[in-house]
Each structure stands twice: as structure tokens, then as C-alpha cells.
Symmetry: C2
Subunit: 556 residues, 2 copies
Amino acid sequence: MPTDIEIARSAKKRPIMDVAETLQIAPQDVIPYGHDKAKIAAHHLTSLRAKADGKLILVTAINPTPAGEGKTTTSIGLADAMNRIGNKTLLSLREPSLGPCFGMKGGATGGGQSQIVPMEDINLHFTGDFHAITSAHNLLSAMIDNHIHWGGDSGIDPTRISWRRVLDMNDRNLRNIVTGLGGTKNGTPIETGFDITVASEIMAILCLARDMQDMQDRLERMVIGYRRGRSPVTAKDMNAVGAMMALLKDAMLPNLVQTLEGNPALVHGGPFANIAHGCSSVIATRAALKMADYVVTEAGFGADLGAEKFFNIKCRQAGLTPNAAVLVATVRALKMHGGIAKDDVGSVSYDALEKGLANLGRHIENMREFGVPVVVAINRFTSDTSGEIAAVEAFCEKMGVPVALCTHWAEGGHGAEDLARKVTQLIETTPTEFRPLYPSDMPLFEKIETIAKRVYRASRVDAPKSVRDQLKRWELEGYGDFPVCMAKTQYSFSSDAKLFGAPDGHVLQLRDVRLSAGAGFIVGICGEIVTMPGLPRRPSAESIYLNSTGQIEGLS
Amino acid sequence: MPTDIEIARSAKKRPIMDVAETLQIAPQDVIPYGHDKAKIAAHHLTSLRAKADGKLILVTAINPTPAGEGKTTTSIGLADAMNRIGNKTLLSLREPSLGPCFGMKGGATGGGQSQIVPMEDINLHFTGDFHAITSAHNLLSAMIDNHIHWGGDSGIDPTRISWRRVLDMNDRNLRNIVTGLGGTKNGTPIETGFDITVASEIMAILCLARDMQDMQDRLERMVIGYRRGRSPVTAKDMNAVGAMMALLKDAMLPNLVQTLEGNPALVHGGPFANIAHGCSSVIATRAALKMADYVVTEAGFGADLGAEKFFNIKCRQAGLTPNAAVLVATVRALKMHGGIAKDDVGSVSYDALEKGLANLGRHIENMREFGVPVVVAINRFTSDTSGEIAAVEAFCEKMGVPVALCTHWAEGGHGAEDLARKVTQLIETTPTEFRPLYPSDMPLFEKIETIAKRVYRASRVDAPKSVRDQLKRWELEGYGDFPVCMAKTQYSFSSDAKLFGAPDGHVLQLRDVRLSAGAGFIVGICGEIVTMPGLPRRPSAESIYLNSTGQIEGLS
């Protein structure tokens, strides 16, 4: 059985200029990065404005389990299948983060016969977008500390700087640090730390901004700390935004690559799915809708977090209307939701499967809450029995949703043609009635309660008085219109990672709240959120190397 | 008067594929980064092996002063002029560091009518080489701390880790930091810091390695810390090198751009000129020699540091034979060496000029010590009088070296044609007798003494016993064959930055020594060396912005 990287490497890639041509992008508007990657020039994006939008399909999933669901793989398989059945379809996916490739996670470019290529490049430096964000973020950090060093007149309190630094690396030791040691010449001692680059507010901004001007306005609004009197200090106050824009200029342009089957894919942006909204860029998605009849995109984690934020944050801010949602489930993961341990997911258990289907059912209901037509995709594993699959199909039939069995991992787009047909049919027959779950003018705490009760099915939200007071202060300061971005465990509808299935009546513990004034949302933190991952005992980095022909081995 | 960035932006650039074609690089061996930058594929580099080498010309300078010498500008002007007079000539220059662009220094792509373009891209992210080095460096850092976190069995002493982290940013506050705070789950408290990326040993290695295998061998040899018993721990011991190579794969390929006049330029690597050797990559220079009849390259700082290291480190390790050296001087800088203050360099003073010429004379003598034929280039400023220029010309005549007046800053290659003819004639008539200044098997301290006495004209080297003992220990450990890389002020032949002109009889203060086992040299530190610059009170970042058409303004 060939590995993902072996399959990716043996792919016959089309020249990226040819891929661009199928999207009718003029050669001078294609900015090549090698022969298999490109950015799309701003000129082309502007030229698209008058065109009509295609249909938008969100691929989301049940709550993730260690058994794997294959959301990205299904997105790719679906796009290939859509193109196979004659629907001009374009992917709009997230860029993977470099850091986690050296930890445990591996890459994020799909798997098996449903991948985007060049797999190694996309997973590592790609076109440098994340490096640009890292540079822009850390330039601001350096300018803040420099401002303090020279006794600048913003009045910022060195003990109230909230802007940290970032690196695209899993580096536990950088979580909590003290900088500025070594005496007067070497800065001012400050307690701070590094987050991973995808957790940078700049990443969220890059993914939500509509254009360069919007990007600049958002960067200027970012709160980087406070004065003693608690009034906020912004990036604009540091005179940093112009130089940051110079660093981010190219990073704002969507990247073009292709699937193993040679279909075009936009891959752009990749914000955290907890403290940020976890979706690919608005610029790429909007451009994709102009260039194709169907756009397949995805959101991070399960539908309770990913789809909810896609709808309430990305679609609201960008004025997007999703036409359908694909809910990816696997028999193995459903059995884990029904109580089976990871090591036993290969053994048949109708009992566990039936119980686990409650998780799928809950997500189906939630999609309906947003008015979005839904299809279930069963991402087939070789260990699945036909009886188990029939049980899932029966469940979906009972729920009144179309369901398709998918074998794209083994067979490529051909294995997702049934899904493609069902998605197309759904879009043709069932108009979307999409609406966000709450209006923008609802009080912030009520927004959190609305998500908790209607999506998570919690009985109530438990929050300290300090948190409720903070939310009220932000409303007075003009941030009351912001949507909320929930940061909670992705493994459960609840804030307890071990509550599998479809729990209800639980209490959501809202521990803290944060303001992302530039990204334009309030983060509600339930439980512990790690914004700088660590490496495991045996990092995958130890197994990566260049073979004798200079190719990368060990990246998965 | 248009600014450098305005001149650069209005340039009519040739498509980079055309530039590559003039070097007979096959289209499939050109890896484009946009339409005006490219990397040269490994396949092409290999295909060059059997070809004969062109002539190698080093551009170096008198000791730098705040008045400016224009070494890079002269390198570019000379290459354009060489091509104008019919000599097929290729530049091999260093990549600028992104960090300093936001401080005081500005870019490093030449100036006036002698620039390489695209100026903004080369000065900022370019093709991502420095970002790749940053990633590879910090991956190793993370793996070291992770190794300690999990109780790895290398026996490394957490208080003796010498490997720091790097960022391509001027960030004073990161010089001295403590990481790993916040309890057991968040690593181990370690005193450390960040250097700027160009100071990374990986940068020096990238610039000295002959090929991928050499690169890997050198990375494996890097010493990252010590055990309690003082035995060294290497990057290989951390199992990090394979993944680092994966990150550095593309960064090893030379970058191709062009001058304002459309001549090809390789721009690759940019190590510090104090704790490292300050020259562009061996891979690029060797490739350039195969692709052109003449190659113009440069070395950091003045000839006492830059040319000395170019000869003793780069040429020795890479087996290169320089055919000529161009010594760049300006009337203004010579007057400063003669005692004139910076604000007065515009006023005529033959007395100061005569005194200052001693600095030029000393460098001419030193080039002869290496057996390399030398030409002096007077980089003309508008304030220079014909009498002053005549004085410099008379001095050179007395010294028996050709001298050329250059106006390439104002006139482009046309203004350096006289220099080009003189360089060509010198190479044709005066065979190089290049030899390094000391043999590899000379004891390390004697190597330092040799440089101090013969290049700096010091009477002796003053070093604490601990430093001499350390050098002896390294000899016993097998590092005795290494050349030495001097880290001293670039402003004087001595270790006192204020000793202008041509001091002799001074005592060189050798404060410390460091081992760069991968780069393959011993660093001799004289005085204080800052490996992480800070930002000034008014960083140039504050003046950089995107204009209404999306172009960068304020970058100089």
C-alpha cells in the first residue's frame, strides 16, 4: 500500500499555467511559485466582481474522534467527483500549518487518492503566507517593546501588553517566557510568550478581510494592550500597520494548486478553529464562487464548532450564502461516539453504532437550524461491514436526509460520484434558507447562550461575574455587534471532551472571554485552550529526511 | 531626484525566463517565483560540473564609515559595465535580511541606477530562503527543549545549551530571555535568547556547503550544547537533521534576478560578516563561474574583515581562486578616515584626504599579501571635487595600482565602463597568485595572530588564558584545521571602532572564542558583538506603507 506522499509524488501534475487557464485566468495574472503552485494576482480578483456567484457547499463533520473522519479528503473527493459528472467545481481549502507536521498530526492535504498536490510544498513553506504572517506579527511585537524601550508616549502599561509573538512551530518552551533581561540596553523585562502562527489574530484577519483596505482597517483596530486606566492601545497607535501591510501584500492573494485528478483548488489561510473561526479565506472563497459553478469548502473540527462559525462568522461577515452542507461521518467514529474504545473500532458493534448515530443526528438537526440543506457522506473504511453501512443509511433515511457511501480515499473522485450527484440534486431541488443563528444586535452573552442551547443543547451557560461584566464593557465600547467565536473542545457537544455521543442538559463552562477587535469577534473560552502546541515524546520530525534523490520521506 | 524604490519600480524588467535563457538554463530547470524571480533547479547545477570556470572578481572596500562606500552598488555597476563592453558577466550577491529593513539600514539591493530588481521583493520575503533557515533553526531549538522535557537520554545539561533561537527581525527584547515558565506541562526553565536569522550557524552552512550532502554533514556536526562532563552534543544527536534538510531543500537553490539593465544576478545567502564570514553562497558562486566568463561577487564590511574571510574561509573551503579584487573607496569616506566629522565630509580638505588615503593604502597592501591583483574604484559623489579625485588617483599611481572613477550610481553601467576595462585588462595581464594567508594546519591561536599582525598590523593579540586553553582543547578535539572567523568592529583595522585611518602597533583584544563546528570555523570575538539588533527610536517601519495602487512606499 503506497503512502500518501508516495501517491502524491507519483501524480502526473498539470502545469499550473494550464490549471489557471481552465479557470480563465490570464497568464499575466498568474504569479507562479514553481511549476505547480501559483498565486492569483489582485488584478484578476478585481476583474471578477461583476460575475455571478456559483453555489457554495460546506463540508463539515460529526465530532472528531481519534478514529478519523476525513473531512479534507472528502472535500477533495467531492470536488473531483463534481468535475467528473460535469459540474465545474473549485475547491477552497485551508493551508496547513508547518509546525504540526513535525509533531504528531502530519499534513493536511487529504489522503489516499484524494489529495491536493504538491503535497510536500503545501504542507511546508508553500508560498510563504504563514511566514509573512509570522513576520508581520513579530514586527508589531518588536515595535511595541521598542516603543516602551525608548519611552514612547502612548502611555501603554508594560504589564498589560496582550500582544504576544508567534512562530509556526510546536514549541512548548515558548508558551510562557520573560523577555528583555540583561539590563538597560537590552529592553524591558516583560512576561509574555509565543503562540503558533495560526493562532495569530492576523491570520484570522487575513481570512476574514474582503480586500486590502479592509485588511488594513482591521489591523489598525487590533488591541495590543492597555494603559493603566484600562483604555485600549491599538496597532495603529504603534504606527506599525503600514509596514505590516507591506509584509502581507502577497500573502493576501489566494494560492492555486490542483487535486491528484488535475482539478483546480484554491488553498488560502488557515486560522485556528478554537480561538479563531477555522475557515479558509473570504477572498479565496469569494473568488472561487466567481470562477466556478460550484465551490467546495470546509470548516475546522466538527459541525458544532466549524459549521457554526462558518455560518455565524464567515458567512455573516462576508455576505455568503451556503447552498448545502455535507456532513462527513465514518462507521468507526460513530462507534466511538457509541462508547467503543479506539482499539476496538474495527470490530462490529451495532449497539455502539446505534448509540453513536445520535451524534450524527444532532448535527443534522443543527444544520437545519441554519436553514441549510444537508447530505451525509459515509467515508468508507475497509473494516466497515455492509450491515453497519446499511444501519447508517437507514438512520439517515429516517432523518429524511440523503446519504452517500464514499470510497474516494481508495478510488479518487470516482468513489464520490454518488455523493456529487446527491449534492447536486439537493441544491437543485431544495433552495437554501440560510440564516445566521442570532442577530448581530443581540447582547454578547445571549449570543453565547444561543449557541450553547441551540447547538450544544446545554441547559445553561455558567460564567463568572467578571466575564459577564467584561462582555457588558465591550458592548459599551462598541463591540456589541461582533459575533462570538467559541473556543471549546472539539470532541464533544459539551465543554467536557469525554462526553461522546449527543449529550444534552449539560452546563457550558465559560471560563474567559477575549476580544479580537481586528478579526471582529469575541472569543468565548470554555476549558483550557492551548495556543502553542508541544511536540510529543517521539516527534514525527525524527522520521523525516531527504532520500538519495532529494525527495522528502516520512512526511504523512 | 527619484528615490531608489521609484527607480526600481519604473524599471522595464525582462521576464525572468528570458534572463534565464541568456544563461542557457532550460525552462524546466527554472523554478519561477512570480515573473521576475526564480530559483535554479538542482538538475541544472549538476549539469554544469564539466564546464570550465570563468574569472572571479571580488568587490571589497575600505573600512566603512557613516559616509557610505557603495560596495553593492559598485558590484552591480561593474557587472552591468562588463556586460556592456562585451564580457559575459554574472553577479553573485548576498540576500538582504528582512529585519533591518524596518530599523535604520534600509535595503541592500544597490542604489541609484545600479540596482537589482525587484527591489521590494528581494529586500522582504524574496523566495523564502531566510524563512526556511528560521524554521529549520527553530525546529532544532524546539526539539532540544522537547528532548529535555521528555527526559531524553543524551545527557545534555539544560544549563549548557548553546543553541538559541532566531527571528529575521530587529528585536532587542529577545536578546536575553527565560523560556519554559509556567510549570511542568510547559517545559523546563532555560536561559536563552534569539539572534537575528543571518547570525544562525545554518546561514553560514548554507553559504559554505558545496551540495546537499555537504549541507547535511555540516548540520549534523553542529554543536548545540554540552553534557555535564563537557562533551559536546550535536544536532545529529537530536535526530533533527533530516527534518531540517526537508525545510532547507529549496533554500539551497540559488536565486536568479536581474539588474536594472537586465543583466542576470544570482542572489543567494547572507551570513553575518562578524560571527560568520559574510559572503554569498558557494553554490551560487560556483554555479556562476560555470555560467559566465566573469563573476562579480562581494564580501561584507571592509577588506580587513570581508576580503580576509572571503579568501581564508570561502575560497579555501570551496576551492575558489579569485582573479582580481576591486577596492571601493569614496572621497568622503577617505576624508572621514583622515579625521573629518560626518557632517563636514562635503567640504574640501586635502589634508584629511591625504591622511585618510592611508586606509586605502593598507588595504591595497593586504590584497597583495593574498596574491590577488587589485583595482581601486572611486565611487563618485556629486560633492567630490576634481582636485580631490586627482589626489586619490595620484596616490593609486604611486602605489602602482590601476584606479577608475565610477559614476554608475547616477549613470548605471555606462558609468563603470572604465572600471570594467581596467579590471578586464588587469585579469588579462596579471595572473593571480592567490594563496590563503595561513595554512590549515597552523595552530588556532597562531592563525589569529597571523591575521592580527599581517592584516590588522597589530603588535600582538591579548587573550585571557581561558580563551587560549579553549583553542587548545578544540585542537585536541579535531577542530585544529578550521580557519578562524574574526568578529571585530568593521570601522577600524583595530578592535577600537574609533581608530580611523591605518593604525598600527595596536593590541588586538581577543575576548572570547566560539566553535561553529558545522560551518567549519572558529569565531574569534574582539569586543562586543550584537547578534540581535534593536530598532532605533524612530524605526523606518513607521514610514513604510502601501500606496493606493498597492505598491510599497518608504522602503529605501
